[in-house]
Structure formats: C-alpha cells, structure tokens
C-alpha cells in the first residue's frame, strides 16, 4: 500500500499541513463473506432461471392482470383507511390515557385490553356477522321512540366490516405506541407550556405530540407495513377482492400456485418500498430541530430580514458575535 502513502503527501489543500495517512486495517473476513454471498446469489439466480416450475411466463401474464391490479387497489384502500381510523383512535386513546379524568383513563385502558386481547381474525369474523346480529340500526331513546332506522347490511357491508375490524384492532396497538411516544417527551416541556398559561389540550397537540412523533413514526411505519399484509386476513369477513385472495383464486383456477405467489409477493414488496420512502420523509419532518441539523433549516434570507426588522425600531445594536464557543480556549 505504498501508493496510498505517496498519494497522501499531495492530497488536500495547499496549506502546508501534512495530513495523516495511516494504512487502513485489513478485513479479510469481509472478502470471504462477500465471496460466499456472491456464490449463494449465483446459485439462487441459476435455479430461478433454469427451474421451469417457476413459470416466469405466467408471472408476466398475471403481473398486470385486471383482477390483480384491482386487488392491489383494494389492499391499499383497506390499509390506508384502517390505518387512518387506527391513528385517529390511537391519538384519542393515548390522550385519554394521560387525561386527568379517571373515566377517560379507564375507558382507554379497557379498549386496549379488549382489542389487543382478542385475535384480529375473530374480530373480522365478528364484524362480518354484525348484520346478522343486529339486522337493523335504530336511533332513538332506549325503550322509547324510534327516530330513525336502517338495514345494518347497507351500512356495514363487507368493505366497512373489513376496515372496522382492521382499524379497531390496530388502534389498540397504536395507542400503546402513541402512549410510549408521549411519555418519552421530557416532563419539563409540559411544565414550560403550562407556565405559559397554555391549556392542556393545546399543549398535547402543539408541544408534546409533535415531539413524540419522533418516537412514534418508526414503529407506526412498521405497523403500517404489517397492516398491508394483515389485510390478507379479510377473507374472514368475508371480503374477497384483496390482493392475496385474488391471486389465490387465480392460482386455484389455473392450478399454478407458485407464479401467483410471486406476483403477490412482488406487489407487496413494491408497496412496502413506497411506504418506506414515505416514512423517510415523515421522519425527517418530525426530526426538525433535533435530528438532521446539518441540513441547516435556517434560511439566510429570513435571518437577514429578522435582524433588519429587530434593529429597525431600536438603535442598531452590535451584531452578536459568531458562536461564543468558537473562541473558547484562547484566553490572552
């Protein structure tokens, strides 16, 4: 490695400082590992290409099949709507859990206990049967007059049942994630906001929750990706348009399960990847001021305007010296 040493002598700007150019530690283990991985990949690739039972032609045929594409659509609808419901409920449940009102705390606890304690499959079957259990929805006074009634079947159809089943179940898990997030925020934040005379609900929304999001977003992303695949359980309702059910149906029709599993896996992976990109941006948003400070959220123009403005009314004061720490240690 004498080359590197030589290269080092004229690297860097012309400031007369000779940079250290240490010989890096060698990692022979990494080379061995890489070789093994390449080998395994090669074997896998070979089998994927040469094994005719994968039926790549069928994968190609069905990848963009109308039913499959609609299946993706339904799976996305189920995922997004149930997560929206779950997040809204979870925020409410987490706030209730921290409330000063004991009734709220109790209700929140029981909700989590129940929906987390029963299988999602059971809950989905239940929501599918709700119309049988309560054929009519009646609004009125108990034992008194009826104001309004309608068939349950028209309100809680298979789609609604599926979304409710998934969303309510998920809300219990998310409520715990949100609760952990809220607890992770330093108590001093609540006190500082209280000392300013802010009301509790406002403190939660504007001060505590935005900071808690840093902790909440990663596991919620995890849950969303989990939900994408949990939607395949909606056949319990029964709901029969989602990606898993559709690909299964096609597989059974043409007696070719493998290519359709690949089709389904491909789409789930693709959607998951898109979700991961979304999560990256959401994390970056809520990391503002704490993480990623190198990205300098300070807009020079805004600072200039602020300074100009602040110095306008008063006599122009001396500008603040640059970061006081920068001159530390040089006492004359």
């Amino acid at each position: 490695m004498s080359q590197t040493a030589k290269r080092g002598s004229f690297a860097g700007p012309d400031d007369g400082v000779e940079r250290i150019n240490a010989v890096p530690v060698r990692h022979p283990g990494r080379w061995v590992g890489a070789a093994i991985i390449v080998l395994v990949l090669a074997i896998t690739a070979q089998s994927l290409i040469t094994n005719p039972r994968f039926h790549w032609d069928l994968v190609g045929t069905y990848l963009l099949d109308t039913l499959v594409v609609q299946g993706i659509g339904w799976t996305l609808i189920l995922t997004v709507s149930s997560m929206v419901i779950a997040i809204a409920l979870a925020i409410m449940l987490a706030f209730m859990r921290q409330s000063e009102n004991p009734l709220f705390r109790y209700v929140s606890w029981v909700w989590v206990w129940f929906f987390r304690g029963t299988p999602v499959y059971t809950q989905l079957v239940f929501w599918g049967l709700v119309a049988t259990l309560y054929p009519k929805i009646i609004i009125g006074v108990p034992f008194g007059p009826e104001w309004f009634s309608m068939d349950t079947q028209t309100v809680v159809n298979a789609t609604v049942a599926a979304i409710l089943g998934l969303g309510l179940n998920e809300s219990a898990y998310l409520a715990e994630i949100f609760r952990a997030g809220l607890k992770s925020v330093d108590n001093g934040q609540m006190e500082a906001a209280e000392a300013l005379g802010m009301r509790r609900s406002k403190i939660m929304w504007r001060i505590i929750l935005p900071q808690a999001m840093r902790v909440i977003v990663p596991p919620t992303g995890n849950e969303t990706i989990g939900m994408l695949k949990t939607t395949s359980l909606v056949l319990a309702v029964p709901f029969t348009y989602d990606l898993t059910f559709v690909t299964n149906t096609i597989a059974n029709r043409i007696y070719q399960p493998i290519p359709l599993l690949i089709v389904a896996a491909f789409w789930y992976l693709l959607v998951t990847s898109v979700l991961m990109v979304g999560q990256f941006y959401i994390e970056r948003h809520f990391g503002k001021g704490v993480d990623n400070l190198t990205k300098a959220p300070v807009k020079p123009a805004a600072v200039a305007a602020a300074v100009a403005h602040a110095h306008n009314p008063a006599a122009p004061a001396d500008p603040e010296p640059a970061a006081p720490t920068s001159e530390g240690g040089t006492t004359p």
């Binding site: 001021g289 805004a302 300074v307």
Partner: protein, 266 residues
C-alpha cells in the same frame, strides 16, 4: 407606586404584589415547606438562597401552580393562587382559571425547557398566538423585539439545539416575557450553564430588574443578589431563616446557619 396599605394594616406602605402566608407543602409524608411567610412588593427583586433540598424550587413551583400547596395561602395581587374563596370555603379552580392565573406569571427553568421542535422565534411566538390569540404579525414583531432585547436577534431562526446554553436561557426569558407577565420567577437560571455564559444571562436579568419587573430569583449567584437584589431570603429545611437587605445579610448574617451557608458559597 406608593399606595397606602388598605388590605393589610400593619405591613409596609405599599400593597405587595405577592403575599405568601403560612405555606406548607407535603410530598406524601415528606414535609418540604414548613410555614413560609414572604411578601414581594411591585418592582422588587427578591432573591432566595439556601442549600440543596431546602424547598426553594418547590416554593417557586407553588407560586405558579406547578405544585399545589398543602396549607396556607399565596396571593398574587388580589388573586388567590389555585383556589377561589366562596363564603369562607376554598374551591379548586377550574383548569381554565388556573391557566389564566399562570399567564400573569412568567417562569424560567434551570434546564431552559425550550420547545426543541420550534425555532427561537417560534418558541417566543407560541404563547402569544395560542394563548392570547395575538395575530401572527403582531406576535412576530414583539418576539423579534424581545430577541433583540436579549441580544439574540440574529438567532431568530435557530433551533434550540443550535444555540449555546446561555443563548437558550435568554430565549427562554424572552419567551416568558412575551406573555407580558407582572411577575417573573427564576429557578436557578444560570446553574446549568458554563461559567463564561452565566454573565450574559445575568445581564439580561439585570436589565429586566432595571425596567421595573417584579422578580423572585432562586440562585447561587451571591454577586447578583448583592448587586441587583432588593431583598435576600435565606431558606433552610423548608423555613425562612433570615430575610432582609442583601448587602447587610451577606456582610453580616445574623444566624449561624446563614453564616455557614454563605461561607460555603462565597
């Protein structure tokens, strides 16, 4: 300023802004405040010193209701803190009324407690816009003036993590001032700071004192007490041991405990 005492005969010639009478505080069995009496006149800088655990923070926290007192009463102007008196009986205040009382009292914490997800400017604008419902423009103008006053106009768009401790504390002071409180509480505002940053914060506090703000300051900065303080109160074990003119007490403490404490911090 010198209105004659009507409500409290026998006291000093002005109506005190803060009146603390026989205040006790228990944390469970732990008797932390054991009958505190104290008054603060409008415009007065009242400095509290005392050893760790003597109840200084607890007393400040009781004044703006971060803790509730177990016995006694605290009055800020005519307002009884935390309660309302109806036919001689105390009733707890609603959360709304508590929030209203707190608006009149600014608090500066040892650990700054700035909102880390908001810029210095947004930290200061938060309460005026959200609590007082000021317009964004008005709040921004006021906030920029406050930042200028604490010498941080250039740092308006910095996040707290991009500021030094002393700068953060000055923003925290500006944030409290934005609500235009009539009383400011400082709980050891400089004790989390590197020594070379303490001066900037103390200077801001001195200016504030000069502007006539009523301040209760818990601090270990004896120099500040001597120079800026109007009264000095020495607390130990949950009681006020000695109170009076700071320069006299520091030069010539009357109680053995005060003497011993001062000899340790001076």
């Amino acid at each position: 300023m010198t209105t004659t005492a009507t409500g409290t005969p026998g006291r000093a010639g002005t109506d005190p802004l803060v009146r603390i009478e026989g205040v006790h505080k228990f944390f469970g069995e732990h008797h932390v405040l054991r009958g505190i009496d104290m008054t603060v006149q409008p415009g007065e800088v009242s400095v509290i010193i005392g050893p760790s655990g003597s109840g200084k923070s607890t007393l400040l926290r009781c004044i703006n209701l971060l803790e509730t007192i177990s016995a006694g009463r605290i009055q800020v102007r005519e307002d009884l803190i935390g309660y309302k008196e109806v036919n001689g009986r105390l009733h707890d205040l609603s959360t709304k009324a508590i929030a209203n009382q707190r608006r009149e009292i600014g608090m500066v914490f040892q650990r700054f407690n700035l909102f880390p997800h908001k810029t210095a400017l947004a930290n200061i604008m938060e309460a005026p816009t959200q609590v007082k419902r000021q317009s964004k423009t008005a709040a921004r103008t006021a906030a920029l003036e406050l930042l200028d006053r604490v010498g941080l106009a250039e740092r308006a768009n910095h996040y707290p993590s991009q500021l030094s401790g002393g700068q953060q504390q000055r923003v925290a002071i500006a944030r409290a001032l934005a609500m235009e409180p009539e009383l400011m509480l400082f709980d050891e505002p400089t004790s989390a700071l590197d020594p070379e940053l303490v001066g900037d914060v103390l200077n801001v506090m001195k200016d504030l004192a000069k502007s006539g703000m009523t301040m209760i300051v818990v601090t270990h900065e004896i120099g500040f007490a001597r120079e800026v303080g109007d009264t000095l109160t020495f607390m130990d074990g949950g009681v006020v041991v000695e109170t009076g003119n700071p320069r006299q007490i520091i030069a010539n403490p009357q109680h053995a405990r005060t003497k011993e404490f001062l000899s340790r911090v001076l």
